[in-house]
C-alpha cells in the first residue's frame, strides 16, 4: 500500500465522518452498485505543480442521506433530494482540499476547480489513479478516486 493510498484513506474517512457524519470502513469485497441512474458522482479538478482530479461516487440514496445529515433534515425530507447533488459536490470539494494539503503540503500553490456532479460513474480515465472503496455502516458503497501523476506528492 502506497503513502498516497494511506493518505487518501485516512483523510477521506476523517472528512466523511467530520463533515458528513458518515462512518465508513474499507470495503472487504468489490463494491456492488445499482443501475447507473441510481448512482451519482462528483468530480473536482486541481491545478498546481501537479494537476489531477478527485472523484466521489455514491448511490443517490446515500447522497440524499449525506444531505440529510449535513443539513439536519429528517430522512425522506424532499429538501434532501433537492440538495443531494450540492452535498456530494461539496463533499468532493472538502475531501480534495484536505487530501491535497496532506499530499503536497500548504506551501505549494494549488487551486481547486468547481465540483461537477452527474449521474452514473466517472468517465473512464487512463491517468494513474488511486481508488478507495469504502462502505458505510449500512453497507452502502462509496468510492473515491484520485487521479494524479505517478510519484507526485507522498
Amino acid at each position: 500500500m502506497t503513502d498516497t493510498t494511506n493518505v487518501l484513506r485516512d483523510v477521506a474517512r476523517e472528512v466523511l465522518a467530520d463533515f458528513a457524519f458518515l462512518l465508513t470502513e474499507p470495503a472487504q469485497a468489490p463494491l456492488a452498485w445499482p443501475a447507473a441512474e441510481l448512482v451519482r458522482h462528483a468530480e473536482i479538478d486541481f491545478e498546481g505543480p501537479f494537476c489531477g482530479t478527485l472523484a466521489i461516487t455514491a448511490t443517490s440514496e446515500l447522497a440524499e442521506a449525506i444531505a440529510c445529515d449535513m443539513l439536519g433534515l429528517e430522512a425522506g425530507d424532499p429538501e434532501a433530494v433537492a440538495q443531494s447533488a450540492s452535498a456530494l459536490g461539496e463533499l468532493a470539494n472538502v475531501v480534495a482540499g484536505a487530501v491535497i494539503a496532506r499530499l503536497f503540503g500548504t506551501s505549494s500553490n494549488y487551486k481547486l476547480g468547481l465540483p461537477q456532479v452527474a449521474h452514473g460513474h466517472p468517465r473512464v480515465d487512463v491517468r494513474p489513479r488511486e481508488v478507495l472503496a469504502l462502505e458505510d455502516m449500512e453497507g452502502r458503497p462509496i468510492e473515491i478516486q484520485l487521479h494524479k501523476p505517478a510519484g507526485a506528492g507522498k
Binding site: 439536519g72 472538502v94 482540499g97 500553490n109 487551486k111
Partner: protein, 150 residues
Amino acid sequence: MQSRRRDVPDWKHALRSGDQALMSLNLLVVDDSSVMRRMVIRSLAVSGLQVGGLFQAENGAEALTLMRRAWVDIVLSDIHMPEMTGIELVERMAADPLLSQIPVVIVSTERGDERLGHLRQLGIKGYLSKPFQPEHLGQLVREILGLETQ
C-alpha cells in the same frame, strides 16, 4: 429557483447595555454551494448568535451588489466560486472605503500559504478551513465582533 435570501433583514440596530453587547447581527454568507451556505447558517444558529438579517450570495459579485444595498456586520465567504472568487471579493472590499470596514471571515477548503497570506494582507479577520466544527465558527464570529461568550 430557490430564494437567495432566507429571511428579510429587520434592520435592528445594535443595542448596548452596560458592558454587554446585545446585537442583532446582519450576516452575509457567500458560497456557491447551497448546502454549504445552509451549513454555515445552521452552525451560527446552533452557536446561539442572534441573527437579525441573513443574506446569502452565490459568488463575490452577488455579495458586492448586496452589500451596496444593505449593511452587513460580517461576511463569511468561500474562496472558490464562479464569476467572482472570494479573493477578488476581498480585494474589491479592501479598495472600498465603506466596505473595507466590514470584517471578513474566509471559510474554505483552501489551505495554500500564499493565497491565505495574500488574504491576510488584505485584512481578513479570520479563516476557518472546511470541515469545521460549528462551535468554532460561532466562537470566531464572536471574537471578531467582540461579543460576549454566551
